[in-house]
């Protein structure tokens, strides 16, 4: 023990000249001692390097998280529109054409080795809007500030616990400054993202709005047994500003590229459906809709509900947050589908995601 201390002092240059001389002499004379000292110094160096690298990695991780990918899509800063209106409009239409063209060209060339899986969040504010509308918007913006800016993305989510926990897909909320949920019954509620897992594409939101009064419980269950091939299922979601129903079956018990944690389903789903519930005949959640295969029509995917349950069990919640309880038996079994949907639709929300410029 004392020997190690001595070696450490030598390593950190804490020995005085005399001690140092004695140490080096011992190194020279005693082979075994030298071996031990060299080993220890190598170890200390490795340990320090480890610490140094860990700090650097943490710093980079922070920078990475602060990165805002949305800036890439910016073509022309807004203020110049007013000044050079017409010229810029022409230039922009060329730029737009190029962007869209490149986008499709790249997409096409990547198709062979890249994935044919497409996530289903809806791009509200994308390149798709016509140029006229963009111009119109800018004029309007100059005159009056709208109360709510249009959200960047939207998806679907559903309440899983009476005290305000909402499940949605990770990719819907992955880069967000603020998130709101909205439906007919509850109106617009502010939520915060309390948990997200890119691995399984599951995210958990918690309602932070004072308007929201805790409910006793939700009427439906989250099923923990796996679905079977050919089982009839249906979805509820917000691909438009209104809730939309979709009907189909489980067409495979594994997802895109044999992903064991999701189902393949044959239901026509659209951007905006992401994060919505996939429901079985008893009215229980059996999956979360999360994507489509782009090269096969009518093929969609949903994360399995047992994956969601596992996830919920392991969510590291703040000790001050309300407890997260989910039902494993529901009240909707035996009801007709129409009646199930009547109960269900109050608990399905449109998830609106905002992030800054």
């Amino acid at each position: 023990m004392e020997e190690l201390e001595l070696i450490e002092k030598y390593f950190s240059r804490e020995l005085n000249e005399k001690e140092r001389g004695a140490f080096e002499k011992k190194m020279h004379d005693d082979d075994l001692f030298r071996q031990r000292a060299e080993d220890h110094i190598q170890f200390l160096k490795s340990f320090k390097q480890y610490g140094d690298r860990k700090l650097k990695k943490e710093a980079l991780e922070k920078i990475h998280d602060e990165m805002d990918f949305s800036t890439e899509a910016k073509v022309v800063p807004l203020s110049r529109w007013e000044k050079y209106g017409r010229t810029v409009a022409i230039a922009a239409s060329v730029a737009l054409l190029c962007t869209v063209g490149t986008f499709f060209a790249l997409k096409y060339s990547n198709e062979q080795h890249e994935t044919n899986f497409e996530i289903l969040r809806r791009e509200v504010n994308g390149l798709k809007r016509s140029q006229n509308q963009i111009l119109k918007d800018i004029k309007e913006k100059a005159n009056a500030k709208p109360e709510f800016a249009p959200s960047k993305y939207s998806g679907t989510g559903f309440l899983v616990s009476g005290n305000g926990y909402i499940v949605t897909a990770y990719h819907v909320v992955k880069s967000s400054d603020s998130v709101f949920v909205e439906n007919e019954k509850f109106g617009r509620l502010k939520v915060s993202v309390v948990y997200k897992n890119p691995e399984t594409d599951v995210a958990l939101l918690l309602v932070m709005d004072e308007q929201f009064k805790n409910l006793h419980a939700v009427p439906f269950a989250i099923r923990n047994s796996e679905g079977v091939l050919g089982e009839p299922v249906y979805t509820l979601g917000y691909p438009r500003n209104e809730i939309v129903y979709g009907d189909g079956t489980i067409s495979a018990t594994s997802g895109y590229e044999q992903n064991e944690s999701s189902y393949q389903i044959s239901i026509p789903v659209n951007p905006g459906n992401s994060g919505g519930p996939m429901i079985d005949q008893q009215g229980a959640v059996i999956g979360i809709v999360n994507g489509v295969q782009t090269d096969a029509r009518g093929t969609a995917f949903a994360v399995k509900s047992n994956v969601l349950l596992d996830e919920i069990k392991n969510v590291p919640l703040d000790s001050l947050a309300p407890p997260l309880r989910v039902n494993t038996t529901g009240q909707l079994a035996g009801m007709s589908r129409v009646n199930q949907i009547k109960r269900w639709k109050d608990y399905v929300f449109m998830v609106k995601v905002y992030h800054g410029k």
Partner: protein, 182 residues
């Protein structure tokens, strides 16, 4: 504030955090595309990229290091080589289009791999070691806390006990580390 190439290097040498941030954010998408278009995932792109950034940052702190090409070119060359090596380990051979040739990428990448392996081994050994040993050692050797501070923090009765405990922890960690390195 936006630094131009020369200024950026000078600021990085001064360990300016804003410069590091700019360096990171300016080049990430390029590497993301490189890896993702060549059978990698976003996570793998991030790993390769961060290793390259750390390497570049460390190299800059060596006064004798001189960059003979653009930063972008250097980072691309290093990441390309690194990614090719990762793919080779997975038995996948791919041709990735080469950018401009950059001197001494081979050595740089070799050095990076060694450092990364060392990091992984140490990280694993520390995981095996568990608490409170891990925190005691990290506090003492990495954060430079004194024995007295550690004694108080971990609730030992006196500094000698702590020292004893630290010694045992250290011996165990060394054992794990050298075993894994063999």
């Amino acid at each position: 504030m936006h630094f131009l190439e020369e200024a950026l290097i000078a600021e990085l040498r001064k360990k300016n955090e804003a410069a590091l941030k700019q360096l990171y954010q300016e080049n990430y998408v390029m590497i993301l595309k490189l890896v993702v278009n060549n059978s990698g995932t976003e996570q793998e792109a991030k790993d390769v990229y961060q290793e390259a950034i750390i390497h570049f940052y460390e190299r800059l702190s060596q006064p004798e290091f001189e960059l003979t090409c653009k930063i972008k070119t250097y980072l691309y060359a290093v990441c390309r080589k690194l990614w090719l090596q990762r793919l080779a380990q997975r038995n996948k051979f791919l041709r990735i289009e080469e950018g401009e040739r950059v001197a001494d990428v081979e050595n740089a990448v070799h050095e990076m791999e060694t450092k990364e392996r060392n990091f992984a081994v140490m990280s694993e050994s520390l995981d095996k070691l568990g608490e409170p040993c891990r925190s005691i050692l990290e506090n003492y050797y990495l954060k430079g806390m004194s024995m007295d501070q550690i004694t108080e923090k971990f609730g030992y009765t006196n500094a000698d006990n702590t020292k004893n405990q630290k010694y045992k922890c250290l011996q165990r960690l060394k054992k794990f580390f050298f075993e894994a390195n063999k």
